[in-house]
């Protein structure tokens, strides 16, 4: 992320329009061309809501394309791009088709998590037909790459309680983490925030504390999520949380509006409130998270 873009972002935040950006966590405004040797780099995007057509963003397809183009133009291609959910607005077949068409133009490999907007209807099949996981019955998964342990947790399976990880997934997580050393950097992807970010608006995971309890022994944990359409960062012990911007439209900061939902900004400010995120992981376990807007 360019330093100027970061300052612009802070300035906009300072105006108190939509973002809460916590003071914790070092925000390093370094160009990606300067990426340190040995760093692993990936990109997070989220909440594209393909099919949404209200005033908050009349053309969510265009802004997703802009984000994809910006990522494809990065001086170094990321190891992968992870989409942390709500690819579509209403889980309609044509919305999945458009989303997949746009996302398939990414140069880097793509990992997609479902959000609750991708699971509307009688089952989860439509999402998994378009974005197949290795095992359709257990879409939560983990993998190791370059000494980092990555975990995908799906906390939108239970329609009546959101977010919820559920006992099956928690049991799996316990077994999955058991073999990992404390010094292994952990990177966790979810859609809904794992901690109680703002429960009044459903921005929490009911059994998230159980998952976090399993992660506390690790020296470096980075939890990246979407769902709330804004950058919010939070630190709890060795666990760093970072909620990402949407590519579609922003939502109000917690408690700054009577309800959540699409936030309509003056036309020239939308691109300042949506974007993508670069994440760099270093050999010593540090994770540097840098958000870029589409402005």
């Amino acid at each position: 992320m360019k330093r100027s873009a970061f300052l612009e972002h802070v300035g906009w935040t300072g105006a108190g329009i939509a973002y809460t950006l916590t003071a914790s966590g070092a925000f390093v405004g370094r160009g990606l061309a300067e990426t340190e040797k040995g760093a692993l780099h990936f990109v997070q995007i989220s909440d594209s809501h393909i099919g949404f057509h209200q005033a908050a963003n009349p053309d969510v397809g265009a802004t997703l394309k802009t984000a994809v183009a910006a990522i494809n133009a990065l001086p170094q291609q990321p190891a992968f791009v992870v989409h942390t959910g709500d690819v579509t607005h209403l889980s309609k077949p044509e919305q999945f088709t458009v989303a997949k068409d746009i996302l398939s133009t990414l140069r880097a490999p793509l990992i997609v998590l479902p959000g609750e907007h991708d699971f509307i209807g009688s089952d989860h099949q439509r999402f998994f037909e378009v974005f197949p996981a290795d095992d359709k019955r257990s879409t939560w998964r983990s993998w190791d790459h370059n000494g980092v342990h990555y975990v995908v947790l799906i906390n939108v399976f239970n329609f009546e309680k959101m977010g919820l990880i559920g006992n099956d997934q928690l049991t799996w997580l316990e077994q999955d983490l058991r073999g990992q050393k404390n010094g292994t950097p952990l990177v966790v992807f979810t859609h809904v925030p794992l901690y109680a970010l703002y429960p009044q608006w459903g921005w929490t995971t009911e059994d998230g504390a159980k998952a976090l309890a399993m992660m506390r022994r690790f020296d470096h944990v980075t939890v990246l999520n979407g769902h709330i359409h804004q950058v919010v960062r939070y630190q709890e012990g060795t666990i760093s949380f970072a909620s990402a911007n949407a590519t579609a439209y922003p939502q109000p900061a917690p408690g700054k509006a009577p309800k959540p939902g699409p936030l309509t900004l003056p036309h020239d400010q939308l691109l300042h409130a949506i974007g993508y995120r670069n994440v760099e992981l270093y050999d010593d376990g540090r994770a540097v998270v840098a958000d870029s807007t589409l402005a």
Binding site: Q54, E116, H117, F119, E160, G202, K259, G261, P262
Partner: protein, 111 residues
């Protein structure tokens, strides 16, 4: 669903049935709420749900015996409740939104 469509067609084709049915009860979805949150209707009546909120919502039965699917701003969805009972429903996108349809036997009075 097929059964429901057939029933609706039969109703439309039969003036006697249409005449007997009172005006369609409406539930308005706005500001992350179903209004009214609880209504009482007669068996066989159709309820119309209208989303007037700026956010998408669903009308989904607890146990999923009926499900509107995603309702965008301005969308409406109707469902015919053929059997007496108490039908709890919620929004799968915002599960704290809850509503109830109480269906009394069609011989009884609605509202």
């Amino acid at each position: 669903m097929k059964y429901f469509i057939l029933a609706a067609l039969l109703m439309a084709a039969s003036p006697a049935v249409v005449h007997a049915a009172p005006a369609t009860p409406v539930v308005i979805i706005d500001n992350f709420k179903y209004g009214p949150a609880s209504i009482t209707i007669s068996a066989g009546q159709t309820v119309r749900f209208v989303n007037r909120d700026g956010e998408a919502h669903t009308v989904t039965a607890t146990g999923r015996t009926f499900d509107s699917g995603g309702m965008d701003t301005g969308d409406s969805w109707t469902y015919r409740f053929s059997k007496p009972g108490r039908y709890a429903y919620f929004c799968t996108l915002h599960p704290w939104m809850k509503g109830t349809i109480i269906v009394v036997p069609s011989g009884g009075k609605s509202k």
